[in-house]
């Protein structure tokens, strides 16, 4: 897909501000891990445009997003509280502390490919409920090139296509699944190429171009809202950082490769577009980055203030209707561990 050039700068500026905030939050999170504030983190460096561009297109008051463990950029774009989001990386609560029912952002998912079928199920639910005035609500399922190998992802695509469920399969092909490059992972070389086999349309897009991603996502949303069924977007991008803060990419890829990839930095691309098309001044970019830095600092403070959840919550949230057996275990835990 071609990157369209927007008519006025306001939307592009907003996108840049989002990209800058995400860049600052993401790089700060890596720092926080080094500083011992959080035990681990999965950086999205290089994938900002894919995440911001798609997240920005979605309407979280009606659509529902299903992230992996690397979607801080999407979460930020749809307004999830960043301290509540980062709580999962602080090891406070698996999945995060934000409310997925109200944010329409599903809990952070640790199982690769684990939530793709959930998106299909939710989307089928919208189909059953019927379209609103402006068409169907849409599920957006995020996953990676590695995840595309999982059986669940195939089952999800086939179910969705058979049932014509309004779901966008949004693949960030970032070149790597930990140490395994896409060419050893995705037979045929492209996840988008799989779509045709299900009779499903697909869009392949430069994932480092935020306007291209935005435009593709808008097209896909329109397709789904209209009852056209599922659609797949493959955003080609690159994971510039390590897989996670405990990974060592030097073991499996060269600095040359990384350096080459750095040349297509999504922020730089957006900056260049703003400058050439609208003559946006230096001060705007400095301001956006500074705002992002300030935001990151506020999140750091929030995280440092985040107390461990009480142990009793281990028991409280297992069921809607707790069982006597679990209540007894909670009581035993209280006696032996809390000494009360």
């Amino acid at each position: 897909m071609e990157s369209p050039t927007p008519a006025d700068p306001s939307e592009l500026e907003e996108l840049y501000r989002l990209l800058a905030a995400v860049r600052q939050l993401d790089t700060a999170a890596v720092r926080w891990q080094r500083q011992g504030i959080i035990p681990g983190y999965a950086p999205l460096l290089g994938q900002e445009a894919a995440q911001v561009g798609s997240g920005y297109a979605v309407d979280p008051t009606r659509d529902f997003l299903f992230p992996t463990y690397r979607e801080l950029g999407v979460a930020r774009a749809v307004g999830v509280d960043m301290v509540e989001y980062m709580a999962t990386h602080k090891a406070t609560w698996h999945g995060g502390l934000y409310n997925p029912a109200t944010t329409h952002f599903a809990p952070i998912q640790a199982v690769v490919g684990g939530s793709v079928l959930h998106a299909v199920g939710w989307a089928h639910g919208q189909k059953l409920a019927g379209p609103g005035e402006d068409g169907y609500n849409v599920a957006v399922s995020y996953f990676g090139d590695g995840a595309s190998s999982q059986g669940d992802v195939h089952e999800a695509m086939n179910f969705a296509a058979v049932m014509k469920a309004p779901v966008i399969f949004f693949v960030q092909n970032n070149g790597w699944a930990i140490s395994v490059p896409t060419e050893r992972q995705v037979a045929g070389g492209s996840v988008a190429a799989r779509a045709a086999g299900y009779g499903m349309p697909s869009l392949s897009v430069d994932g480092n171009d935020v306007t291209a991603v935005l435009e593709a996502t808008r097209q896909a949303l329109a397709h789904c809202r209209d009852g056209g069924g599922p659609i797949l977007i493959e955003a080609r991008t690159y994971r510039l950082g390590p897989h996670s803060t405990s990974d060592d990419p030097g073991r499996y890829r060269s600095l040359d490769e990384e350096q080459a990839a750095r040349r297509s930095d999504p922020l730089a691309a957006c900056e260049a577009l703003l400058r050439t098309r609208f003559g946006t001044p230096d001060s705007f970019f400095a301001g956006a980055l500074a705002a992002g830095e300030a935001e990151a600092e506020a999140v750091r403070q929030g995280l440092e203030g985040l107390a461990p959840r009480p142990g009793s919550e281990m028991f409280d949230f297992v069921f809607q209707q707790p069982t006597p057996a679990l209540k007894a275990q909670a009581a035993a835990w209280r006696t032996e561990s809390e000494h009360v």
Binding site: G125, L128, F317, F319, Q321
Partner: protein
């Protein structure tokens, strides 16, 4: 005639609607009826799975429901169990009450990831924001000379998974009421149907469920408690009948809820009888019999006259039809187990 004494079955009693008369139904019929009522009561309830629509399921448990409720509420999915269970998660997130079917026990294995990592955990993960009212029906256990992997007993696996509730009915009346209950619960329930009992008829009183929590004394007795669930309850009742001829009064406890287990009910019975035998089809090692033996021993150690005996399947793959009577606990083996417990002498 005082109101409290009037028969609940008499249409004249009280001024509520006429109570339906007790029926004679097969378990298949009872389950089918229960599902119809669950769908009637809750417009958000959906039935789906392989061949549950037009065909009505290979066991006909969903017979006629698609015709009655439409192909949006009762529908066939493609042939993929992980897909069926994963889709249930999303439907629950969208406010539906999914009632998926896995066609046979052994085909729950491909769905274990979605069941364990997702269905059992989503309410917890989301801190209660995303409840998982998923009622998973699994035709279970052996005894019908079926092909491989059509006779598995997965209760030990399910019971060990946090966030799941597990129940298995022993007769049509239980099946009807337990499924109606499970189908209205806000938590995931694995509903294990003893397929060997689908076609056995029995009385069903729709108007009088009786208590549905915990275990149920299927036959009272003084000398020993025989603990079972699913298809083994009927066999244990036969055994109790035989033992009675020898003057041994066996109490048969139908466990019903496998998770959470009714530890109080178990302890109450065994503290009276002081002896227990647990019977199941699943392999012995790490089977649910172990949990029951451990629970009973923890609670009744000082009164127990003998270690809790386990009469179970062997630690071998569920065999082909010709050998299944060798594998499933038969009357002889249960009687041997009872004998061992009765003859045990404290050292």
């Amino acid at each position: 005639m005082s109101e409290t004494l009037s028969s609940p079955l008499s249409p004249a009693a009280g001024d509520g609607p006429a109570a339906p008369a007790p029926l004679t139904l097969s378990m298949q019929g009872a389950l089918n009826r229960a599902l119809g009522e669950v769908l009637e009561d809750n417009p958000k309830a959906l039935i789906f799975g392989e061949d549950v629509g037009r065909l009505g399921g290979v066991f006909r448990i969903t017979d006629g429901l698609q015709a009655r409720f439409g192909a949006e509420r009762v529908f066939d999915t493609p042939l993929a169990e992980s897909g069926i269970l994963g889709m249930s998660v999303g439907l629950a997130m969208a406010g539906f009450h999914p009632i998926p079917e896995v066609q046979f026990d052994g085909f729950a294995y491909p769905a274990v990831n979605q069941i364990v990592s997702q269905i059992g955990r989503m309410n917890y993960r989301s801190r209660g924001a995303l409840p998982m009212p998923v009622t998973l029906r699994v035709p279970s256990f052996g005894g019908i000379r079926a092909p491989e992997l059509h006779g598995e007993s997965l209760e030990s696996l399910f019971v060990h998974v946090p966030g799941l509730k597990v129940v298995s009915p022993a007769d049509p009346h239980q099946a009807y009421h337990l499924l109606r209950l499970a189908g209205s619960m806000p938590d995931p329930v694995i509903f294990m149907e003893p397929k060997a009992r689908y076609w056995q008829k029995g009385p069903v009183d729709p108007a009088d469920a009786g208590a549905l929590e915990g275990a149920r004394i299927a036959r009272p007795g003084r000398h020993l408690t025989l603990i079972a669930w699913g298809a083994m309850v009927a066999r244990c009742l036969q055994v109790a009948e035989l033992a009675a001829e020898d003057g041994i009064e066996v109490e048969v406890l139908d466990l019903r809820w496998l998770s959470p287990i009714d530890a109080d009910g178990l302890a109450e019975s065994v503290s009276r009888t002081r002896r227990a035998v647990v019977v199941h089809e699943a392999p012995r090692s790490s089977g649910l019999g172990a949990e029951i033996a451990a629970l009973v021993t923890e609670r009744c150690f000082n009164t127990l006259k003998a270690p809790v005996e386990r009469v179970t399947g062997f630690d071998v793959p569920y065999p082909s039809g010709d050998l299944e009577d060798e594998y499933i606990p038969n009357i002889d083996r249960i009687l041997f187990g009872i004998q061992r417990v009765l003859e045990h002498r404290r050292g």
